[in-house]
Symmetry: D2
Subunit: 126 residues, 4 copies
Amino acid sequence: MAHLGAELTEVAEGRVRIVLPSRPELTQQHGYFHAGATSSIADSAGGYAAYTLFPEDTEVLTVEYKINLLAPAVGDHLEAVGTVLKPGRTLTVCQLEVFGVQGERRKLVANGQQTLIRVDRPATGA
Amino acid sequence: MAHLGAELTEVAEGRVRIVLPSRPELTQQHGYFHAGATSSIADSAGGYAAYTLFPEDTEVLTVEYKINLLAPAVGDHLEAVGTVLKPGRTLTVCQLEVFGVQGERRKLVANGQQTLIRVDRPATGA
Amino acid sequence: MAHLGAELTEVAEGRVRIVLPSRPELTQQHGYFHAGATSSIADSAGGYAAYTLFPEDTEVLTVEYKINLLAPAVGDHLEAVGTVLKPGRTLTVCQLEVFGVQGERRKLVANGQQTLIRVDRPATGA
Amino acid sequence: MAHLGAELTEVAEGRVRIVLPSRPELTQQHGYFHAGATSSIADSAGGYAAYTLFPEDTEVLTVEYKINLLAPAVGDHLEAVGTVLKPGRTLTVCQLEVFGVQGERRKLVANGQQTLIRVDRPATGA
């Protein structure tokens, strides 16, 4: 996240929003964001969304996700929205959406689904 | 790919290998590679594997992929292998594997499946 | 569909609903619908949803889908909803939802995402 | 499984094979197996493969799966192979393959990936 320059802009229970401004290293020759950047913020948005539902001493790990890249990821920034579809004691399932935003224009560029597992963090941190 | 520091180390028909050396920006506090890095090189390996089967004036785009993160992605480098399972005139399906490599130790850390579409590149480039 | 006893109960542009009444052959010892039945109607709902957007002489085939089985599929019937997320000339992506319905109670039991391809049907049929 | 007429023909540690003979109710107008039948035996093959690795008093449930339908599922029978890629105390990941078999001809018609969860079965059965 920090490496990419992404930022958490909204945190609600079971739903978070991440914004990733366009930067030359994140885009290819046509100015599109790389699929890797799109997927990364989608995955992170789901992880944070799940995390909002758990106590602080737990960790949430991605088990798997599936993502469809629906359209070229263009815009002055990408916006990823992670939404918990089904919370669980062990497993949580999230919906992932990524929008390409250019001024007033906001277009769905990727859509996915993700499974996460809750892990109790060791008491001593690390 | 270039941004991440990844390198194509093997290119055969329908199969490529990508190596990504560990770097502080790619890893988190425990020294594990970020899921985003793991997924990115998996996706790229599949894309290049499909590309080896097509004429030069075509482009290959990821339609979708699904990836399971099986184990912490540790090692001095990651190795992603993309293998074409089913080539096609329009759609191609690849298997994606990512290994964490530390000296002699090589462990499967992620496994995925990907659908790609072949697009004829406009003659004038761009 | 006919084999399972499922029925199309709602057809709108880009969205269809399929209902599958419970029957002993479709359920296991606990009265839950088999995962196979749940997945089949989800897949069909997406296929029909895509089909509503195309001319009659085209065919729509499932390229792939991913489904999360979120909860035991209980109820006197299942209801599958397929919704087109992104239509396309070649590929269409749908969201798949399956609900277990028992009287007034309606619970999301499965959620998925599907990619379909449009194929022009040969003029002579067959 | 019984409903479909499928049969477990091979059971090894972490790997099982299921055979589904062609029957009119399982095929469509062209003689292809329905996608629902293909997916069902793929899902079952993965479930049984995982189950071979666990003690008898445990149950294995499908969390999710993703399947690519690579080619029309033709043949006098389908053969589904489930192989454990990564066993785990809680989660197990399997590869799923389905072949269409006609005499000597054996063709990969579907390929998938599946996540399963192990659940301790209550001592009293039910």
